[in-house]
Symmetry: C2
Subunit: 340 residues, 2 copies
Amino acid sequence: MALPDVFTRYRPAIDAGLRQALDGGASDLYAMLRYHMGWLDEEGRPTEGASGKAVRPALCLFACEAAGGVAEQALPAAVAIELVHNFSLIHDDIQDGDTERHHHPTVWYRWGHSHGVNAGDAMFVLGHQALIASDGLAPRTALAVSRILTRACAEMIEGQVLDLTFEQRASVGVEEYLRMIGKKTGALLEGSLHMGAVIGCEDPATIEAMRCFGNALGLLFQVRDDMLGVWGVAERTGKPVGSDIHRRKKSLPIVHALETAEGAGRERLVEIYRKDAPLDEADIESVLGVLADLGTQQVCEAIADKQADRSVAELDTVELSPKARRECEELTQFLLKRDY
Amino acid sequence: MALPDVFTRYRPAIDAGLRQALDGGASDLYAMLRYHMGWLDEEGRPTEGASGKAVRPALCLFACEAAGGVAEQALPAAVAIELVHNFSLIHDDIQDGDTERHHHPTVWYRWGHSHGVNAGDAMFVLGHQALIASDGLAPRTALAVSRILTRACAEMIEGQVLDLTFEQRASVGVEEYLRMIGKKTGALLEGSLHMGAVIGCEDPATIEAMRCFGNALGLLFQVRDDMLGVWGVAERTGKPVGSDIHRRKKSLPIVHALETAEGAGRERLVEIYRKDAPLDEADIESVLGVLADLGTQQVCEAIADKQADRSVAELDTVELSPKARRECEELTQFLLKRDY
């Protein structure tokens, strides 16, 4: 499935904006931030490596354009949200004890926990700074956008707290899991489109429609992510098959299985998730077998479909340009079907 | 030495503002934040306990009033800076491995590192939110103040990185140590007065004078803190004599001693600071003896005096009301002489 144009056409502007935002000097702190972004290697030398998809800033710029504005006007907001997303990754890596990201040591693993905490904090501040230090927006707009950003951050952190709590709990329902990812992942994705729309137009209905479209995309994005973490193809995702099972993440498929499995299947699942030792291939096969028996993949697909349908339906109340409408539908289809 | 009126007259407004800012619901996250602020005990029951001095918000409101404004107008900024300060304390406790604050277990020690990181992150977001979600300020002013806050945060985090780096290094000079605390502690104190002045008036000279006054107070505050950490009286500070030596902090007295000591004194110091075992009373006495031989206390006093002189001198270029001027001088004298 081809990457929609939305993810490529703004890319040079996004990359330039990000680099400018982290161009704060030669201190150790900024070197850690540039390393995390994949621009420096472990010895501090510039890299040629590709970065991630930069989904959030692309959605922000797209929403601005789709709402009738000039995409570039939303660049400070787009840069801000990508930095805030990266703040959350740096702190997530500490909390999950992850030692690698994109095949490189994580910041905390390379520089220790204390500097990892600092690097995340700094990424956060610089995100807000990228937005409010810009002179391109009218103060009233900058303030409105800044409010959306901080509210999204607060929700994201609440979601992160819930996620940590869920990992400790014996059982979590599918509904409460979806509410959690709506905060942890959804809030920033919704915020991306919401901020872009506020910058792109003044029509409350259009702004609200784009926000709701973003809310559905956010859930869709994470549900698909959870599916790829279990059934993704290694050559496409860059992660081993069943990687979330290996990590014993309680992602959507496992939450569904723990909620619905009974008898021997349930016992096998609970036993494997409780094991002290690392899981082997037989464990992964066993879990995948339980999921297959329960039809978990079909359930996840149905949840994703529902959010995909909702996403474009949210736009039915407003008049977008034919191109914008088509691109919204492309975005939804891509997030629904992506295999990486 | 009596607490200046500046620290008492705004207190009810500050406390009410802080409680309102953290009144975000019944979730586990907000319970952690209220616990950190000293409003809940470990079982989640409301406490009667006294909080800290709340220096930063008081300075912010005072600066607004001294610059000719109405103190209450700066309340969102005052609340913001106190929450940001508390964010830094929560993360500092993780980084320093401190298990107690104000005689209670620290957040990370009570709920684990992961939740400690989250609680700090949330405090940070809510600080920004307290400022920009308020309707009391004109958008242009809110944005200007928000810029000051994020710049101060960025500097504070840079200072924190330097501090961690210094703790690993064999030698640190007094001058670079002062530059570090100017960032780590000074930036927020300077920001407090700067924000208040921007809200209180539109005169660039007054704003700049208050900012510079704040810069000097920030250094003065930390130098005095470092002195109290070594020579403070336990009954006044609430910490054991030589508490910073016990913790082997490389605070100003130790930085000065390591920079100037020679021969046997230097060897004793280096040896004690390198010990694996906890320090005993004889070690503390030994370090205090080296400091006495070097006249370190007098050197620290001279540094504090210099900043105190500079602080009020920064105000000479502007016309403040006689009351405001007198209160500025009282503030300086209090921060110079305080024994707690």
